[in-house]
Amino acid sequence: MNLNKLKYAFLLGLCTCIFSACERDVEGLSTPEFPSIPQVFIDDFSAGLNYAAFGGSVPTAFQVDNKETHNNSSASMRFEVPDANDARGAYAGGSFFTSSGRNLSSYNVLTFWAKATKSATLDIVGFGLDLGANKFPTSISGVKVNTNWKKYYIPIPDPSLLTAERGMFYYSEGPEDGNGYTFWIDEVKFENLGTVAHPKSAIMDGLDVVKEAEVNEVIKVTGLKASINLPNGVDQSADASVAFFKFSSSDEKIAKVNDNGEVTVTGAGEAVITAKVGENVSKGSLTIKSVGLAPKPTVSAPVPTKAAADVISLYSNKYTNVPVDTWNTHWQFSTAEETFIKVQNDDVIKYKNLNFVGVEFVANTINATNMTHFHIDMWTPDAVTAAKSFKVLLVDFGANNAYGGGDDLSHELTFKAPVITSQNWVGIDVPLSSFTGLTKRANLAQLVLSGDFPNVYIDNVYFYKSNGGTGGATSPTSPAPLPSYPAADVISIFSDQYTNVAGTNFNPNWGQATVVTEISLQNNKALKYAGLNYQGTQFGSNQNVSGMQFLHLDLWTANSTELKIFLISPGPVETPYTLTVPTSGWSKIDIPLTSFAPVNLADVFQIKMEGNGDVFLDNILFRK
């Protein structure tokens, strides 16, 4: 029977008054109760109320106003939000608090009326900031106000805890699109309303969240909310202080949770963290799936040996690193979480739940034009199978040095077993020429790591300039690998392996500055172009190569930064092809002959190279 809730409930109210007149707290002598004054600001500051503006806000933003008031009462609170760049402060914000506590345990909402000079959205309004312990801050945010007075409600998640509260009301609001304005708040008071109902609370924003973790990891319960259903049937949600929540773990041997909602993983297995506010079970949960003590690197990755002058380092203790904006852009759908750890005193980045992660150096893009290689050390505890891959994507923003604009370039390389192994440092060291889609690299801005290994440790991420792998050598010490094409499929110009076209002049005088010599590497001949500007080769006889598919050559250069090769038919008709330089050791190059159109492939007679540096060549031939 709920007669007491019916229309004539005020009668019962009267009866309650009589009751309460009789009630005496006989046991209350030992603990003095704080007064339960509900008024905060009606027409003036209530008893013992103080105001303090927040740091950086306009100190005078709040004034008592006697003109614009709710319901023609004698005064309201006026708040002047500054324009952007106001010298007095960036926003309006402050807290109203009392010097001694109030007992608010008999109220279920803080209510107030508000209006503004224009439609606007207040950043945050709440209670519980006492400029001391600030134990119970609870606030509503994104509060829409307009030019009409409207009543607002802030739910009190568990009133029984507020027996000595000093934080009565606080607010913070910045300019709207750079523009200041004024809003008013009036009739601020705590109330116990029967017209609000269904108090609810939530952790993890009401979702059932699952997180993989390992022993000793600390994970915080977030998304703490409290709501109450307003008289119009709509829920008002508030961000609630953690102090209102009582947390518990389904298995303390796996995960413990403290009063601050911090979960410490203690063992292997699954534990569910739930919470209550008062006796009401909060919606949402945090399930910890603990792998126990996860394997992790016990030794640091090998220390890089490249000379600092030849390196652009993003992450390494060996080098001075260039600025990286972030090691986790948290792009949409990325589940990766990064932590910065030490392994044998060496800094290492640990990723877990890695599906993909963006790394950005947009603010200071990297010009790796003079670099030849990309290096990254990775370590994974996860099992390696043939199908699983680890991927490295490099993105260049192009000449505009900004995302988009049609000039962005990127290329992704995929690494699998046997390169990737489990629980070993894997040094991934690849020529930048392997990133074939990355034809320019003067404005590198992003690195994206992805693949099938959710747990990855990385270290020593850098670009470097290879000197042929011989530690600064300027010439090869070993010959290019011998070609293995059947002789019948080859027309050879320069090779120890085949019969060459007779009578070829490898140094015709075309006015070049290049010094050409024939050198011997372990009894295998090679051509050396020293100080190249350009250099021709005159075939001993015109050749019909229309039955062939490629112009093949082996190329070695440590210092050339620009190199082109031309195939020439009489006319002359010549077409250049750009070669990737410098190389990492001998680089085997097969150029489709179709690349040289419109050169007459039935009648070619010269080759020309243009560029710079010292260039070594071998096995110049046409092949099927």
Binding site: K7, Y8, T195, A197, P231, G233
Partner: protein, 271 residues
């Protein structure tokens, strides 16, 4: 059975207690002797299909009201749970509708002329939610609506959870222009607890009660059209989502929404 006497007895207690405060809240009601003729306490594990039939689907024009939901008999939408009938409105698309809910009726199984019809209900809430406990004339298939008559014992707009409507529809006073009585709680809401909603109906008036408080009475001579409440009526329980009476559900309407019915009881006057 003498339910009334027990209720009256408790009334007297309250009245004596409050008498000194406010005399106007004393209700002197005629004493009646009610005999229980039909009831469902919903104490089993499944809906008693000898007492109720399901209405299924989206009906014609949203059951004549532009309702948005489809009605199903899935346990997600209707079940018995710890002594209550639970009708649940969901905002999960089903059967071509964006919302689903349930509606049951005693048509063809039980109907009665005159007497007391009551149900103890905890209502759902939220914009666009429309719970109802109501009755239609058993002759609806012969004479059609509104000539068959309609008695709405409980209707609530979820965006006004403190206000109940008791309503009569008949020829000349139907649809958007019925005869109704509105009753609001000042500092409480009907969705916050169980309330007993009842009508007491005889040959010249229908009285509307909440927790045995008579909040309104519609008499034969007050009606702008024919008194068609002189033949058996059957009962309906449902939760609609959206419709002409309640308006749209909004993105802020909390879902799921449940109507809990503790019991439905029907009495006939004895002497």
């Amino acid at each position: 059975m003498n339910n009334r006497n027990i209720v009256l007895a408790s009334f007297v207690c309250v009245i004596t207690f409050c008498l000194g405060c406010e005399a106007d809240n004393f209700q002197k009601l005629d004493e009646r002797k009610w005999t229980l003729t039909w009831s469902d306490e919903f104490s089993g594990s499944e809906l008693d299909l000898t007492k109720w039939k399901y209405d299924i689907g989206q009906g014609q024009n949203g059951w004549g009201n532009g309702e948005y939901q489809t009605y199903t008999k899935r346990p997600e939408n209707i079940k018995l749970d710890t002594g209550n009938l639970v009708i649940t409105a969901l905002n999960v698309p089903f059967g071509g509708a964006n919302f689903s809910s349930a509606r049951i009726k005693t048509q063809g199984l039980f109907a009665q002329k005159y007497g007391r019809f009551e149900a103890r209900i905890k209502t759902p809430y939220g914009p666009g939610i429309w719970p109802a406990f109501w009755m239609l004339g058993e002759n609806i298939s012969e004479v059609g609506w509104p000539r068959c008559g309609e008695i709405d014992i409980l209707e609530i707009r979820g965006q006004m959870p403190n206000t109940v409507f008791g309503t009569l529809h008949g020829p000349g006073y139907s649809g958007g222009n019925p005869v109704n009585i509105m009753y609001s709680l000042i500092d409480a809401r009907f969705d916050d607890d169980f309330y007993v909603y009842a009508v007491e109906w005889d040959d010249n008036k229908i009285d509307f009660f909440i927790n045995d408080y008579l909040y309104g009475s519609i008499k034969k001579e007050q009606l702008p059209g024919d008194w068609v409440f002189n033949q058996p009526f059957y009962m309906i329980l449902n939760v609609a989502v959206g419709g002409s009476f309640v308006g749209f559900p909004t993105a802020q309407t909390p879902f799921p929404q449940q109507m809990l019915v503790d019991y439905v009881r029907v009495y006939q006057e004895s002497n």
